[in-house]
Amino acid sequence: MRRRHLLGAGLAIAVAGMAGNAMAQSEIKEIKIGEINSYSLLPAFTEPYRKGWQLAVEEVNAAGGINGKKLVVISKDDGGKPADAQTAANELVSSENVAMLAGTFLSNIGLAVSDFANQKKVFFLAAEPLTDAITWSKGNRYTFRLRPSNYMQAAMLVEEAAKLPAKRWATIAPNYEYGQSAVAVFKKLMSEKRPDIQWVDEQWPPQGKIDAGPVVQAVAAANPEAILNVTFGADLVKLVREGNTRGLFKGRSVVSFLTGEPEYLDPLKDETPEGWIVTGYPWYDIKTPDHDKFLKAYQAKYNDYPRLGSIVGYQTIKAAAAILAKANSTDPEKLIAATEGLSMPSPFGEITFRKIDHQSTLGAYVGKTALKDGKGVMVNSVYRKGADYLPSDGEVEKLRPKQ
């Protein structure tokens, strides 16, 4: 009896071992990326984003995958909660054995996942979170970020805003970290360039809950010559509608973060205010071969035009593929070494992941809003390279904690 047991056990182990081998072999044929984003909370941004990365996965695999291995993206929803994002990250790393984590939209979720990556020693490519902290004050060696940060977008806007004659400025920003740091950086850079400027009013409506009438009225009462707006999404719609009706924007310059992105500009339809200086993505106006190729492929696959989210999703996976191909390994240390200083093409032109702070040099388009056929568009847009709007290396070194 006992011998038979032993025999059985031995057989079982052998079978298990073979199965394990077989599994290991099939695993080698594919490389997994774990992707996390706020799909259920922010579908307006994350749906185009998802389409973007799905297109990228298709292209990468059609071109032979990563050094012959198939690229697979496993995507999870975080519901807009940092704690749930960590649960998802844990599942991706522990159960799915992904080579790297990527994605996230909200700054606090980006930071939570980046802290998780640092603790568990996993490579993390943050796609969208804008907070400066993720590469600077709370930066770590495992985290890289694709999108131009708050600081970079502020610097791009300040360049234009400083040319305005306006001296009395008011700000309207959502009351959370993104709004607060956008206003702080803008004010700092602006006051450096234009010491003659006065800040006459600031409004901090809660994110997603703006009571636009009183806010517009309060800003108008301070009688500024120019306004900085950081609200977006549904808040922006309410602000613009109230502002238009009450004549807040008449005779005033407005500088606005992100408003040129189709996600936020398109819902404004024929109520789009004209002449705002904005950062955004005028997909209809970009005439470069890199972008044409992306645009054609995107429109052919989805029969829809891309949003900025599509670019971010697309480039996140393209970047991940380039990193994995160069490292030719899934070891996080090798991935970091491969990413630092890595340059690659993107629909916006060549970008580089900086060694010093792990920020990519992806830029943004700066232009003015206008109305065309009852729709909001960006005109006179110019691409601003991210590399030109970052502080000097000396300053960055001071900002980043010593590892």
Partner: protein, 628 residues
Amino acid sequence: MAFYFVQFLTGLASAASLFLVASGLSIIFGVTRIVNFAHGAFYMLGAYVAFTLTERFSGALGFWGGIVVAALIVAIIGVLVEMVLLRRIYHAPELFQLLATFGLTLMVQDIVVMIWGPDDLLGRRAPGFKGAVDFFGQNIPSYDLFLIALCPIVLGILWLLFQRTRWGVLVRAATQDRDMVAALGVNQKWLFTSVFALGVFLAALGGALQIPRDAVHHALDLRIIVEVFVVVVIGGLGSIIGAFVAAVLVSELNAFGILIFPKISIILVFLVMAVVLIVRPWGLFGKPEAAARRTPGLTVTPWRPLTSGERLMSLGALVLAAMLPLFAGNYALTVGSEIAIFVIFAASLHFLMSVGGLASFGHAAYFGLGAYGVAFLAKAAGLPMIVSLLLGPVLGLLGAAVFGFFAVQLSGVYFAMLTLAFAQIVWSIAFQWVEVTGGDNGILGVWPERWAASPANFYWLSLGITALVITVLRVMVFSPFGFALRATRDSPLRSEAIGINGKRVQWTAFVISGTVAGIGGALFAYLKGSVFPDSVGISLSVDALVMVLLGGVETVSGAVIGAIVFKAANIWLVSQTDLSKLVLGGFIVLMVVAFPKGIVGTLETIRNRRRSAGTKSALATSRIEVAE
């Protein structure tokens, strides 16, 4: 001067939108005592349906007709919901209906995205009210003036309806004393249905009327629901005039408050509510609730400690749970730890709700305080993990001691709303005090020390603490203190007569419950390695309520099962499907219908019935249940 007048009018316009929705909620609550969490969902549906109709039919008739028809369509949906779902659970324990309407809200959020797409939609402007009126150089949107005029009209119609019709008399009677109205032979079914229809109609109308000034999107419901509830409570439950005054008060304070403190909006309504409830425990125009005529003994089957057999079974279950690391991977273990932590959290609320009879809507405050306590001690003071874990919950204890003192002066929904207000105040401190709490970017790097870092060890640690906490709470239920607490819950007058200091007993229970929640929060901080204001947020408080209700509020330890089922289903669904809210909401609604006393409560009832089947006492029991 002109500016202040215009700002006043602007505040009134905001009040008008708030009032329409709040009046509906107030009517529904007054009569049916349902905490209708889905009210925001109906508001949002009203906006979406009105958007579609006004896009389809142009012109003035198309627009105004579209708005009214949209409200009617949504009201019909409301009637269906009432008849199919809510009618089944009117006899369920207090607040159980909240669970059903919460499930519905989750479903609607996914459904509107499926039907109308993810983009923000811009509705038409109202024909004839597109521009602004010049007032001494200040512009007032004419649509605002329309809303300001509409508000008293609606108020007047409602007043006539309630004062001058027989239906109104019945509604007012039911608001004051439901049992008596039933005893007099009024058909409650149709009274409830009609009241629900009217309330939903007003909510949908409020939503539809927003489309000329707002964007229509899938988060409209959450934006409005809490605020509306606060307005209803400030005004006094069931009082339409109260809702009107409260809406004006809150909106005007906001309109003028932002001139001095631009960041006030985020917390203003809750501050007002806390002050009003402390000064006037029943809201501005509310009346003290009539003493409830409870069936003798809240639970038909009295609570009893576990038999030795059941103790062995529980121990067996614990041993089984402790063996999980032998065969499960790291991910399963981390999920296991998270579930264990939520068992602690749910049990702490359950203790307050079922033993103390005090339903807290803001229990996350103490959970979050525990988590922040750990984060401060570990990060700022650099204390070792054991010390932080022991001392972190003290912050929850302190918070519970301060807030509990004020909260236990109230009862019922007013108690619940005051706890919500306190939780929101804690949340806004965590959110705003960036220098100390890191604001919404939170505190990072609160990882466990090496001995507890491995998922298996952390799981055992969480499981051990959970077992200890549950045991202690159960011992307390059957201790003299527990009996005093239950006596206060069941009959405040009688317990006072035998010398029990009810308020002090309840306060002690509040502090115990807050401390236990703090223990859960402390563990949670180490599990996630970071703390964010989310862990003080409303959605976490709601999660805790859902877990308790799902388990069964009339049981001794139902929350344990409720927490395991809800958390496991939640994590699994979010990971498996893109429509997690739809499926989770549907799951909750099904559970509500299948287990009208919560999972454990219903199972216990079935078991008791079986045990005493055929005997007279069983007949008596079921009769008492029917009588309820």
